[in-house]
Amino acid sequence: MTTTPQAVRRESRRGSRPATTPDPARALMPAGEPVRLLDPDGTPLPAHPDYPEPPVEALVELHRRMVIGRRFDVQATALTKQGRLAVYPSSRGQEACQVGAILALNDDDWVFPTYRESMALVSRGIDPVEVLTLLRGDWHCGYDPAARRTAPQCTPLATQCVHAAGLAYGEAYQGRDTVALAFIGDGATSEGDFHEGVNFAAVFKAPVVYFVQNNRYAISVPLSRQTAAPSLAYKGVGYGVPSEQVDGNDPVAVLAVLTRAVAHARAGHGPFLVEAHTYRMEPHTNADDATRYRDADEVEAWRDRDPVARLETYLRARGALDDAAVAAVAEEAEAYAADLRDRMHDKPTVDPLSLFDHVYAQPTPQLVEQRDQVRAELAAAAEEGDA
């Protein structure tokens, strides 16, 4: 006689397993559908049992930063067209994720961003000129990561996932209650370092929130080529990490879910994985042509789920925003963009001799030789210029 899986399940239902033994994976599983607290048109849904709505003041601040963040993003895209930036990977359409993640954290928590998180970084209060240093090209990381508790924007995909695990573990090891939040995209969940990072964090109970922004494309490659899983949130379960999926264009839900995820990590329960379903409205970067791999209809459909409009509608209906407040935020965003535009028009000064700084704490004799050589080349060039 063979025992089929169905027979085993029937058997267990009949109670051969003690009824009190819960399936240990059950508690880790995400909801079958993304958590949503607002309809796409901004209408509130019934209260969620696991994710209480954040305080209204937090939502007003979320709206403000999303408006400024979007204006920053549009300005950065414009700066590429003016030749001020080499390239810019936009996160327009992902404002709820970019800002929601920052608002869920304390100032002394750590953030591990990718190259698409410029909006999140300015939302964290980092000077936008420093954020854009990387893309302007006068250095790599333009801000002080130690002072801003924000790792350099990470280009090698998913490698930051392991750093976040190490940092969070190291902080806990030294008695500090820091949480680390690692941003990651849908494509990068295919990289080994994503899996190693989540696994290390789980094994060492490191207080990390892995926040996957599933914007449906890795440059041109659709999600169906990254995974056969029903949701990227299921990837946490195999590592023993509780996971959730959320409507990434619902700002209220994003903040609610991430707030709980951060609290889980800070309470010492280990990492938490969140997948946000969202959409990149712009191409991968200004150098990309998204019409080669997606339809205009698809993009239009996502325009109807705009996270900024969604939150504004809701807050207006609640009486937390009015015309004057909305206008004031828009004005603030314009001033922010104008200031950025002005400051980006100044050509940055770069010092070729600084190439030798910070390769090592002290330059090696070989680097000293090369620096002398470059110094001589520069002097010769200057002399030629004078002549």
């Binding site: 250095w139 790599h140 990381c141 002080d144 990561p145 130690a146 002072a147 790792a151 350099p152 090698p156 490698t159 996932c161 392991v162 750093h163 976040a164 695990a165 190490g166 940092l167 969070a168 573990y169 190291g170 902080e171 090891y173 030294q174 680390a180 080994g192 370092d193 190693e196 990072g197 696994n199 290390f200 094994v203 060492f204 700084d357 910070h358 390769v359 090592y360 704490a361 090696t364 004799p365 070989q366």
Partner: protein
């Protein structure tokens, strides 16, 4: 003074570093209760607890990436890659983050990590256990690359690596782990960036590092019978490299053979040979020669003796240093003459 192995000296260096600095944590695969497959971390977990010395998931990129995060939080991680070739999954973390974080952040972040790599062959190991991987690291700016050849150096260089503000790839020649010598610990030998003359001589300079150093010394002994008095320079720290000591020796002797166990093409020995001829051209009586492993994947155990550069191959090279002022016959082929 006591007689001890290099393995024991490395173990003592780790223990003393952990004793002196609470920030030092040691982790990797099997380094905890087992004490490492080569027993370099033997007893550390029992002595310092499983928070200071611990096993990790079996994932080398994870180990090194985790160390990056720990270093960012202020700790001083010392990680073990179990074998040379098993470190390759970690290469992206090493090349893109460990080596570059200081530079990318203009010094705001530093990652004082030590990555210990048991490397090279001569132990009858099967495939993927005997690679000489030093050139990959030495070719990556931002890393220091260190390899001891003596018991006292093993202790001293590892202590210095752990204290160093920069990331260090610490390459341990497996075949020297259980070679014993008189050592007085805690030894403090020459610092990083200093090569050492292990044997003075007047006729030619043998430049070697790591597992090739004992070969060079043995060859120098054997060369006495041929009437050659050879000087042996132990490089010790591939990065930073000590041009001054190597150059001074070759200018004195006028002849140079560079010896490495690794495959030769585009290797560390090629770099050393180029540097020597750039700096010593007018003092040279013969081309700078290289003796290395063959340009093949590391061979199966029963064939490794053919691959490994031994005393005979070194002496053959010394014999070709144009003692009679005649061109090296080896290069007088039609192609070479053309």
């Amino acid at each position: 003074m006591a007689t001890m192995t290099m393995a024991k000296a490395l173990n003592a260096a780790l223990a003393d570093a952990m004793l002196d600095d609470e920030r030092v944590v040691v982790f990797g695969e099997d380094v905890g209760q087992l004490g490492g497959v080569f027993r370099i971390t033997d007893g550390l977990q029992a002595r310092f607890g499983d928070k200071r010395c611990f096993d990790t998931p079996l994932a080398e990129a994870g180990i090194v990436g985790f160390a990056v995060g720990l270093a960012m939080s202020g700790l001083r991680p010392v990680v073990e890659m179990q074998f040379d070739a098993f470190a390759y999954p970690a290469f992206e973390q090493i090349a893109s983050h460990v080596a570059k974080l200081r530079n990318r952040t203009r010094g705001a972040l530093s990652v004082p990590i030590v990555i210990r790599v048991p490397y090279a062959g001569g132990i009858g190991g099967v495939e993927h256990h005997c690679d000489s991987s030093e050139a990959y690291y030495a070719h990556t700016p931002g890393l220091k690359v260190v390899t001891p050849a003596t018991v006292e150096d093993a202790y001293s260089l590892l202590r210095e690596a752990i204290a160093d503000p920069d990331p260090v790839v610490f390459m341990e020649p497996k075949k020297l782990y259980f070679a014993s010598a008189e050592a007085d610990l805690p030894a403090r030998t020459q610092p990083f960036g200093r090569a050492v003359v292990r044997r003075p001589g007047t006729d030619a300079t043998l430049v070697a590092y790591g597992p090739a150093v004992p070969v060079a010394l043995e060859a120098a002994e054997a060369a006495r019978e041929e009437g050659w008095d050879l000087e042996v320079v132990d490089v010790r720290t591939i990065v930073p490299f000590d041009d001054a000591t190597v150059t001074a020796s070759v200018r004195k002797t006028g002849r140079c053979v560079v010896i490495q166990e690794a495959q030769g093409f585009a290797g560390v020995g090629a770099e050393i040979a180029a540097r020597v001829q750039e700096r010593c051209f007018h003092a040279l009586h013969a081309p700078v020669l290289r003796v290395s492993g063959l340009d093949i994947p590391y061979p199966a155990p029963m064939l490794e003796h053919t691959h490994l550069p031994g005393v005979d191959r070194v002496l053959d090279a010394v014999a070709r240093l144009q003692w009679d002022d005649q061109p090296d016959a080896r290069w007088l082929t039609e192609a070479g003459a053309a």
